[in-house]
Amino acid sequence: MRLAGRFGGAALSLLMVAVLGFFLFRVVPGDPVVSMTRGRPTTAAMQAELRAQFGLDRSLPEQFWSYFTSLLRGDLGTSFTFRRPVADVILERLGPTVLLVGTATLIAVLLGLWLGVRSAWRRGSAFDRVTTGVSLTLWAVPTFWLGMLLMMVTGDLFPSRGMRDTDTAPDFVSQALDVGHHLVLPSVTLVAVVCAEYALVMRSSLLEEMHAPYLTTARAKGLRDDLVRRRHAVPNAVLPAITLVFLRFGLVVAGAITTETVFSWPGLGLLFYDALTGPDYFLLQGLLVVTAGAVVVMNLLADLLHGVLDPRVKVV
C-alpha cells in the first residue's frame, strides 16, 4: 500500500513536471517567436512560418495534447539553435554531467559525512568550530565565483576549459588521464559547495541522536567511545542524512549548471547556459522536464532506499 502510494505520488509529480514545462513557456506574457528571433532580422511571414512550425498557431489544448503525446514518445521537439531533436542533444551531453556530478557527489558525501560526524561528536571543539565556520562560509560562496578563483589561483596547473585536449593520444589510458586532469577543478568546485551542506546536515543529524538513551546504555556496557560512535550513533544518524542527500539532489543540479558554465564542461549544465543565451525555448523546456524528472525519480529512490535501510520506517 505504502509502496503503491509512493509510486503514485512520483507519477503525479512527473505529470506536474510535464504540465509545468508546457505552461511556463506558453502562458507567460510575450510571444515566444518574437523573443526567439530577437536581434535577428525577420519578416512577418517568417514569424508566421515559425509559429506554424512550432505549432504555436493552434489552440492551447491542441498544443498541449500534441506536446504531451510527443513527450510520452520521448520526443522533446526540435532545438532552435542546434537544428536537431532536443532529446538527441540532451542525451549527447548526459555522459560528461554524470561523470562530473557522480565524482563530486561521491567525494562530497564521504567527506561531508565524515566532517559532520567528527564535529558533532566533539561538539564545541576547535575541530567543530572550524568545520562549522568553514561550512557556513562555503554555503555563502557563490559556486561560480569559487570556480573562477580556483582557476585564477591554479593558473596553468590544471586545464580550465572543456573535457579533453584535441592532441591527446587516442589510447584509453591517455584519454582517461586527460579527462581526469580536466575533471580536477570542476569537481573540486562542486565538492566544496555541496560538501558544506552535507557536513552541516550530518552534524545536526548526529546531534539529535547524541542524548538518546541507547547511547547511555552502550556506554554503560563499557564500550569504548569510538565503538559507541561507530556502531551505535552513526548508523542511526546516517539514515536521515543519506535521505537528505538524495532530497537535496536539486542542489547538485544547480551547482552543476554554474560549474559547467565556468569551466565550459560539455555537459547538461553548459547546455542550459547555451539554451538560455539563445534563447532556445524547446531546448530549455526539454532540459527543465528532464532535470526536474530526474529529481523526482531521485526522491522516489531516496524513499525506497530509506525503507530498505531503516526498518523503523515501515511501521509508520
Binding site: 564545541g124 559556486t143 538560455l276
Partner: protein
C-alpha cells in the same frame, strides 16, 4: 555551560553579522548620492583599463577603465534590494500557503501540500532560470523568478507550526466560543508563526542574494543596473581570469560572501532566541 557558551557565541556572531549589514546598508544608500554619473559611464571614463589598485583607484579599474571600488559601491544597492524584496515575496507566499494548508483541512490542504512538496524538490535555480529567460529582462523579473521558486521550505515550516498551534487547547476554546477562521488565524496562528517567519526571512535574504548573483552571472540580470553578480558576469566575459585581475574578481565575490554570511549569522542568532533548546 557549553550550551550557554554556544548561545553566547551565536549572539556575538549575530552582532557581528548585524554590523556588516548596517555597513552594507549605509553604502547602498549613500553610494548613488555621492558617485558622479560620469565615473560609471563607459563612454566618459578617462582612466586606463585593467589598472592595478593604487592611488586614485584603490581597487584598480575594470576592462573599460571604471573604478572597481565605485562599481562595487554602486552595486551594493541592487544586490541588497533584490535580496530583500525576493525574500519578502518568497516568505510571504510561503506563509500564506503554510497557514492556509495548516488551518483548512480537506481537499484544499491536500492540494496545497502536494504543490508545496512538488516545488520543494524541484531545483529552484532551474525554475528561476526558465522564468527569467521567458520574461523580459529587468529587476522585477529577477525578483519574481527568485521569489516564486523559493517559498516551499517556508510553507512547510509554517504549516507545521500552524498544525501545532491549532492542536492547543486555547485554540479549541476560541473555536468553542464562536471564533471564526479569521479570528483563529489572525489572533492565534499568525502571532505564533511570526517569529519563525522572521528567522526564515533572514535566511531567505541570504539565499536570494546568492540566487541573484547566479542569475546575473548567467547573463539574466537587468542589463541597465550594476550588481555584484553582474560585475562578475562582466569580469568573466572580458577575461579577468586569464588576465589574473584579482582586484576585479575578488571584491564582488567577497562582498557577496560577507553579506550572505552576515544574514545567515543574524538568522541563526534569531533562531537561537526564538526556539530555545530543550
Amino acid at each position: 555551560m557549553s550550551t550557554f557558551r554556544a548561545g553566547l557565541l551565536a549572539q556575538r556572531t549575530g552582532t557581528a553579522g548585524a554590523a556588516v549589514l548596517v555597513a552594507a546598508a549605509v553604502i547602498a544608500l549613500v553610494a548613488p548620492l555621492l558617485i558622479p554619473a560620469d565615473a560609471l559611464d563607459v563612454t566618459r571614463v578617462t582612466a586606463a583599463a585593467w589598472q592595478l589598485p593604487g592611488a586614485g583607484h584603490w581597487l584598480g579599474t575594470d576592462h573599460t577603465g571604471r573604478s572597481v571600488a565605485l562599481l562595487m559601491a554602486q552595486g551594493t544597492g541592487t544586490s541588497l534590494f533584490v535580496g530583500l524584496t525576493a525574500a519578502v515575496l518568497s516568505v510571504g507566499i510561503g506563509t500564506l500557503v503554510g497557514v492556509l494548508s495548516g488551518h483548512f483541512g480537506g481537499l484544499l490542504a491536500g492540494a496545497l501540500l502536494r504543490v508545496t512538496d512538488f516545488f520543494l524538490v524541484l531545483p529552484a535555480l532551474v525554475l528561476a532560470i526558465a522564468l527569467s529567460t521567458v520574461l523580459p529582462r529587468g529587476l522585477g523579473t529577477i525578483i519574481l523568478a527568485i521569489g516564486l521558486t523559493s517559498w516551499p521550505s517556508t510553507a512547510r515550516m509554517v504549516r507545521a507550526q500552524t498544525l501545532t498551534i491549532e492542536a492547543r487547547p486555547f485554540v479549541e476554546r476560541a473555536r468553542a466560543l464562536g471564533g471564526g477562521h479569521a479570528h483563529v488565524i489572525g489572533r492565534h496562528v499568525l502571532p505564533s508563526v511570526v517569529p519563525l517567519v522572521l528567522v526564515n526571512a533572514t535566511l531567505a535574504v541570504a539565499s536570494a542574494i546568492v540566487a541573484e548573483s547566479t542569475l546575473a552571472f548567467l547573463g539574466l540580470g537587468d542589463p541597465t543596473r550594476i550588481s555584484w553578480g553582474a560585475l562578475l558576469h562582466q569580469a568573466q566575459l572580458h577575461g579577468a581570469v586569464p588576465q589574473r585581475a584579482w582586484w576585479y574578481l575578488l571584491p564582488p565575490g567577497l562582498a557577496i560572501v560577507a553579506v550572505v554570511l552576515a544574514f545567515t549569522l543574524v538568522g541563526r542568532a534569531l533562531e537561537a532566541v526564538v526556539t530555545p533548546k530543550r
